[in-house]
């Protein structure tokens, strides 16, 4: 038993954190999210240069064969800094290709992803499907796809999309073939609704089992990212309690507030514990059931604690917590989305109890 990152994992997380502290402070990020692209190509290039897009890919295609634990420290740093670059959508798409694609397809996509030249997105959810992974209506006639996909994260900047179809079908589609309605999510990520309209795809193997595996992987990364965002929320709120004065004293001297921030710290520690569980089980569970149980348990705790911490952090900041000017209100939005992404607490309670 040990909860340490390996030396490589720690070094990577530290260098990502250093980059973000230098190039991703809050004002710079504001410019990025307001830009037309919705992300910074310069930052993307630096992240790729650090090997983040290559990290989870197989070594025979230019990757490092890493897992969720290898990405965990990076995701925590992303959560602290509220990174909007589409690393996770690209990784999810690339893993689907790596696990389900032909040798030729892998060779045409994965090295380009590893080098940061190609971005991907995973188009799965559909209008009304909510969190049910099986509720896919998109039809595949041969390689021709018809249907609609909703809120596909990273689609507006993706070069290729991995699109799911009825019965666990998976296809790689050129993004240009698909009609996109792009928008910014409440947490300032870019996403799009898609109409497939006969777009032609290259099929992947793997079916529903692969989709579930990738959804669990994505959930584990979301847990780690949420743990990072929660850490920022707690730290910045604590700082506020120590500096904000009312009635002539720092408001952190009031016991009513002390007990509340203590509860947030406890919630944050628990969340981090569950992120450790989720990441290590998606890497090394003995069965899909063990993996699913751990991920759902983690997602329940993360969803509950993300809500608690984000709401309380804003409340303890008073009016300032509502202000767009302060980062905490952006962390609030990110935590709200992460609590729901890939299934909210109710969804995972259902799944946890059924396993």
């Amino acid at each position: 038993m040990n909860f340490d990152y390996s030396e490589e994992q720690q070094l990577l997380a530290d260098s990502v954190r250093r980059l973000l502290q230098k190039d991703y402070e809050f004002e710079a990020r504001k410019k990025t999210v307001a830009s037309k692209e919705g992300y910074s190509p310069a930052i993307w290039a630096k992240l790729a240069e650090m090997g983040l897009t290559a990290l989870p890919l197989p070594s025979e295609h230019g990757g490092f064969g890493g897992g969720a634990v290898d990405l965990m420290g990076v995701m925590e740093a992303f959560g602290e800094a509220l990174v909007v670059e589409p690393l996770v959508p690209t990784i999810l798409g690339a893993l689907l290709v790596a696990k389900g694609g032909s040798a030729e397809l892998k060779q045409s996509i994965l090295p380009a992803v590893a080098e940061g030249r190609m971005k991907l997105a995973f188009a799965h959810a559909e209008p009304g499907s909510r969190y049910d992974l099986k509720a896919v209506k998109t039809k595949a006639s041969g390689a021709k796809l018809d249907g609609a996909k909703s809120a596909v994260l990273g689609a507006p900047m993706a070069d290729k999309l991995v699109v799911s179809a009825q019965g666990g079908g998976l296809f790689v589609v050129d993004a240009k073939q698909v009609k996109q309605q792009a928008f910014a999510t409440i947490d300032e990520m870019r996403a799009a609704d898609l109409v497939l309209n006969g777009a032609e795809g290259i099929p992947l193997q793997g079916g529903l089992a692969l989709i579930e595996e990738i959804a669990d992987f994505a959930s584990a990364l979301a847990c780690a990212e949420a743990a990072g965002a929660m850490k920022f929320a707690c730290d910045t709120t604590l700082e506020y309690l120590k500096t904000r004065k009312q009635f002539g004293v720092p408001i952190g001297t009031f016991q009513a507030l002390q007990h509340r921030i203590v509860d947030l710290y406890i919630a944050q520690e628990q969340a981090r514990s569950m992120a450790c569980l989720a990441c290590s089980k998606v890497d090394a569970a003995e069965s899909p059931t063990e993996r699913a149980r751990a991920v759902s348990a983690a997602k329940i705790k993360i969803a509950d604690n993300a809500r608690l911490i984000s709401q309380e952090a804003v409340q303890l900041h008073g009016g300032m917590g509502m202000s767009d000017e302060l980062k905490i209100s952006h962390t609030f939005r990110r935590l709200t989305v992460l609590g729901q992404l890939y299934g909210d607490a109710d969804h995972h309670l259902e799944r946890f109890a059924s396993l």
Partner: protein
């Protein structure tokens, strides 16, 4: 990062588990499983079985009978005790008084008391709380006045767990009523057979007699029973507060209770409202266990004592214990009047104490606010 125990750790756990299976007397195990009353004889009997094996005080230095296990092994051992459902090891002598003596006691005190604590020849209780001094412990009033080679003690302790079983009590007493109240406190060991001590039961809402009032009326205590220096009792008490108690969350015990709850509540699982509450509780326990292991791992690496982390484990651990008993009671047939059902209802009543004793959960939050968050 590897959340699984290593092969060596698993082998250790299996050894402990197999030994417990073979050596925990069936009648004691049954009593614990039935939530039946445990007599002093029951508690002492189990203590002596572990003492004979050499496992009753793993955390002590080896020269006094410790096992030399590392923090993870000690934690695993305690969790196994909880998981198998062994009678509790009463901590007042084994973990509390012993820790104080090992750190602050004279050689003579160690030689006199530690072996008898180890073998449970002396049963200890703790004299901290007083009628006017609960969370504000430093306001305690029980007075000890030095007269020659004795202290004369007058006053009252309350909520004294198992004082009616005890041969000895360790007390915080006031030896000086000067301005700085913490500086007037001393740590005194008192023989319960000394004339002038009266023990009166306090019956709690579950009907059980576990805690007592203890009255001291001109009780003569030899000065050699003072631990550390006069006026330094608060230092001793604070040391004990931060002492390594890594099983504070009682994960093993709660796992056993949760398994029991699941069996008991099987017919309720169609009710989504109930099922979701049970699932959330199970997830809480998973989060507590991993958090506990993370703290242990950090302790093992840094060699630092856990400090305020223990407070977090206490808060979450006791909330979970209460959550389990609440759901157990809810899962019962409301009309059932069999002995087991009644004992579960009583246990619900009794478990409310867990968030109050050993430093209420509000005091634990104060500790975290001050020590961890610097507020």
């Amino acid at each position: 990062m590897d959340l699984n125990y290593s092969q060596e750790e698993l082998a250790f756990r299996d050894e402990v588990r197999a030994w417990l299976e073979a050596n925990l007397p069936q009648d004691l195990r049954q009593k614990v499983a039935d939530y039946a009353h445990l007599s002093k004889e029951d508690l002492v009997r189990w203590h002596k079985i572990l003492a004979k094996k050499g496992w009753v005080a793993p955390a002590w230095p080896k020269e006094w009978g410790g096992t030399g296990w590392n923090v993870v092994q000690r934690y695993m051992f305690e969790e196994e005790l909880g998981y198998v459902g062994a009678p509790p090891l009463i901590p007042f002598g084994l973990t509390m008084c012993a820790a104080v003596l090992l750190q602050f006691g004279s050689e003579a005190q160690k030689k006199r008391f530690l072996p008898r604590i180890y073998d449970c020849d002396d049963f200890w209780c703790q004299g901290y709380s007083e009628p006017g001094s609960g969370s504000d412990l430093a306001s305690l009033k029980t007075k000890a006045v030095r007269q020659g080679d004795h202290y004369v003690v007058n006053g009252q302790k309350t909520w004294t767990t198992l004082a009616h079983y005890a041969d000895w009590i360790f007390c915080l007493v006031r030896t000086d009523s000067g301005e700085k109240r913490q500086e007037g406190i001393s740590f005194l060991l008192i023989d319960m057979k000394t004339p002038g001590i009266t023990v009166r039961p306090l019956i709690l809402m579950d009907g059980a007699h576990e805690v007592n009032e203890v009255f001291f009326d001109d009780v003569k205590v030899p000065a050699e029973n003072l631990v550390f220096q006069e006026g330094k009792g608060w230092t001793v008490a604070k040391y004990l507060l931060g002492y390594e108690r890594m099983n504070t969350g009682r994960v093993g015990e709660s796992k056993r209770q949760l398994a029991k709850l699941k069996k008991l509540a099987a017919p309720m699982m169609k009710d989504m409202r109930f099922r979701d509450r049970l699932s959330r509780l199970e997830v809480e326990l998973m989060a507590l266990e991993i958090t506990n292991l993370r703290f242990l791992d950090r302790m093992r690496r840094t060699g630092q004592p856990p400090g305020a982390d223990v407070s977090m484990l206490k808060i979450k651990g006791t909330e979970i214990q209460q959550g389990v008993t609440e759901l157990m009671m809810q899962a019962l047939d409301p009309a059932a009047s069999d002995e087991f059902s009644i004992s579960i209802r009583k246990r619900y009543l009794s478990t409310r104490k867990t968030t109050i004793y050993a430093g209420s959960n509000e005091i634990q939050r104060n500790i975290i606010a001050k020590m961890t968050l610097g507020l």
